[in-house]
Amino acid sequence: MTRLGGRLAALGVALVMATLPAAQGQAQTQATRAQTVQQKAPAAGKKIVRIGATQAVDSMSPFLAVRLVSSSVHRWIYSYLTVPDPKTLEPSPELAESWETSDDKLTWTFKIRDTKWSDGQPVTAQDVAWTFNTIMTNDAAKQGNGPAVENFESVTATDDRTLVIKTKKPQASMLDNPIPIVPKHVWEKAGDPGQFQNDQYPIVGSGPFIAVEHKKDAYVRLEANPNYWRGKPKIDELDVVFYENPEAAITGLKKGDIDLIGRLDAPQYEALKGDPNIVQWNGNGRRAAYLQINHGATTIDDKPVGDGHPALKDPKVRQAIHYAIDKQALVDQVQNGLAVPADGSIIPPMYKDFFWQAEGDEKVTFDVAKANQILDDAGYKKGSDGVRTMPDGKRKLEMRFSIHTDVPVEEKLAQYLTGWFKQIGITLTTRKLDSTKFTEETGFTGLFDIAISGWSVNPDPEEILATHLCSRRPTASGDGGGTESFYCNPDYEKLYQEQLSELDRAKRAEVIKKMEKQLYTDAPVIALYYQNDLEGYRKDRISNITPMPEDKGLFYGASGHWPIYSLDAPAPAAAGSAGDGGSSTGPIIGGVVAVVVIGALGFFLARRRRSVTDDRE
């Protein structure tokens, strides 16, 4: 026994020795990367709001970050040229106080606001020019917002207050530019902006908050920026706390570990019901869900690609399918009533200026009889098994419906569609694909008949409109730029160019509505519903928060800093003591647990001794 014990111990020591250097190296790298600049001040007397996020920040550098949570954090610590107005969502001044365009619509001149970075240095047009030029010239820095400067010819600062942007083609969406402006004087010294992780805290910015600490995969700590030009935020600290697991985040909200959480799905939203301290927020959403129909997919050089069902090339069949969908039922049954049935196209009604919906004869309502009538008239005859065949009698209308694996909502949707389509003589079978395969088949190789899809729309709808352009179709080698429909229609192309060079918002909206109408009637995509924005927050910890847009809009998922900037918390004492309570009771409870564990061990040992005595023969 002693020999064996000795050997085991020696082995253990050897193991520990082997792992120790690794552990030490780990500790060192963490020490050198330690990002805590200030010692953590006691929370007392501070108004703190904690937001739960189900995504971890990938990078604090706006040039590199691609995740949504990172762009939210950047929205709160940086400023932009312009921001959407919180009421109307029209572009409004931010770092650019005012702007004008040349007659040829290719030159934009911005007057830059006289304000300060959080380190006291003045914000100048050179900062803006440096930011844009960096993305235009440094390939690695294109990761975050590369497409936003694609149409830029040149960006120059003619003096400290004047910025001139020349574009290759007119660009009406200029005022919805998503690029956070970074301070040149900091970034110039930080080395290659395509590599720099922006991890020198506090991060110098010009937004309402200053990032003071980022613990990777745990949280980001922001403090109010006293120099913010619109005025200091009402709360002192904003923490963005990471939860990998949405259910754990819901538990955290109920318990008070976090105060606000956005981007909920229907079951998560329902789980908040009945808690007296929690407000369930059901606002208008930015997202449209639609069916993508393979109406004869082609590559960018007009060669057919994929194996879409030939019947879907016929607009009449697509129209019949549209008539066979009960959108209200889908909203009620699939989305728990937390969505708006789509009587329009790809732009949700939240964007009042650009939203279009069908009226009168154009409007497609759920009508199985009419759908059957259309198919009968077009010569698709029903066989004895109730399934229709092509007019030439060669192929049955048996189609695939592609959805993602592990998305219960889509499976439910598939069941409803299968039922309705059966009534009009179309057999629908569901294909579940993992997201990589799904993207490939529905966006590049065209190996689908009907697929589920969706898009979150920005205040300027240019991006989603562009997903139906001919140029977005894949190349013959299978590359390409992300079409949402393989659509290619000369009329649509013309309207797209027209809206892009129409700088008058009202006139531009008219053109955009024509594009939506065309998508509605031609039906390469069929909009199903617009999901509501579902969030939850604690009313005992958040005394005020204004959604964006102010009428039933969004908080966390908003396309601007407004809701978070509007945050207010109850009197500091309450928030402070609540925040403090955790940290001061923590060690005590920890101590208690330790004592209990030791006690239990002692008890077991004692019992063991006793039982040993009992065992004696």
Binding site: R7, V66, G146, Q197
Partner: protein
């Protein structure tokens, strides 16, 4: 093969680091070197397999990675160049092998940072969680297994075996959520005293108070982990001890008039420990990989979570890197188990 040698305990240390061996224990050395060679071969095969395995995943990484972001073909090309996907497959393979041998696992597509750095950052939390879990579950499993086997058929045996098997069959994710709801959120009279996520809160104290703070965060994930895995130690220990109980030497020991406790501790248990040690060693290897489900439920910032996020990405460089690191750890621990086994059990040496 070789004649049994009288190995001193120190040889165990030497066997762990064969390169430094200067003693004359040739047999052990030769045995260790053979095992080391086998291990290196396995690691080489893992590297080769990793490359092709991750190429088998359908879909173009550049496209998968940029889905929902409209990019022009030019930008996709740029991305492919950055990922090294534009080169021929053989070239990619050679690059990959050479870089891996230099411990360069490439740059994460998503984080834009070296994969090795990402893995290094996550190793600490994983070792804390899974290391603690392993120590507790091994102790618990061995203790209960020994007791259950010694009092074979008793109520304790039936209870502990039954409970551990039930917990073993419970889905980790589900158990984690359940514990989270009960002990983190609090239900009815049970107060929610444990945190809902991570290894530390935003208001983590500095200095000594940091240790109980992390300990509080560790309780639930560790409990989940232990509950789900300790059954294997219990069962292995129980069955191998049952084998030993019937042996003649145990009867002899009893006949010598040894106390029951002494028969168990000095004779039966040391012999029954051997299969368990193999199991423990192999699991130490897996410790490095973290516990994907547990880390996901509790947002524990370890390697398991990194791997999970890489799959969601998909971030191939990170997936490959973590895969190789975990496989290598398992192979190394297996090799150590072989060597340790030989040191601990003279029968293996003469075999």
């Amino acid at each position: 093969m070789t004649a049994p040698l009288d190995t001193e305990p120190a040889a165990a240390t030497a066997a762990a680091g064969p390169a430094m061996e200067r003693s004359a224990h040739r047999g052990v050395l030769r045995y260790a070197l053979t095992k080391l060679g086998g291990a290196l071969l396995s690691i080489g095969m893992v590297i080769v397999a990793t490359f092709f395995l991750f190429r088998l995943i359908p879909g173009d990484p550049a496209i998968a990675y940029t889905r929902d972001v409209p990019l022009s073909p030019d930008q996709l090309d740029l991305l492919r160049r950055q990922m090294g996907l534009d080169k021929p497959l053989m070239q990619q393979f050679l690059d990959f092998v050479l870089r891996t041998l230099r411990l360069d696992f490439g740059t994460s597509y998503e984080y834009r940072r070296p994969v090795l750095d990402l893995i290094g950052e996550r190793l600490g939390p994983t070792l804390v969680l899974v290391g603690t879990g392993l120590v507790i579950s091994v102790s618990l499993g061995l203790w209960q297994g020994t007791r259950a086997a010694w009092k074979h058929g008793s109520r304790f045996d039936r209870m502990s075996t039954g409970v551990s098997l039930v917990l073993w069959s419970v889905p980790t994710f589900w158990l984690g959520l359940l514990l989270l709801m009960v002990f983190a959120a609090g239900i009815g009279p049970i107060p929610g005293i444990f945190p809902t996520r991570g290894m530390e809160g935003v208001d983590a104290p500095d200095g000594l108070a940091y240790i109980p703070h992390v300990a509080m965060h560790l309780v639930l994930p560790c409990l989940t982990l232990v509950a789900v895995v300790y059954a294997q130690y219990l069962l292995v220990m129980r069955s191998s001890l049952l084998d030993e109980i019937g042996q003649d030497y145990v009867t002899t020991a009893r006949a010598k008039g040894l106390r029951d406790d002494q028969v168990r501790r000095r004779h039966a248990v040391p012999n029954a420990l051997l299969p368990t040690i193999t199991l423990v060693f192999i699991n130490i290897g897996f410790v490095v990989g973290g516990a994907v489900s547990v880390e996901t439920v509790y947002s524990w910032p370890g390697l398991g979570l990194l791997f999970y996020e890489a799959i969601k990405g998909p971030d191939f460089a990170v997936m490959q890197g973590t895969f190789i690191v975990v496989c290598t750890a398992v192979i190394i621990m297996n090799t150590l188990a072989d060597v340790a086994y030989r040191v601990l059990d003279p029968r293996v040496r003469s075999a």
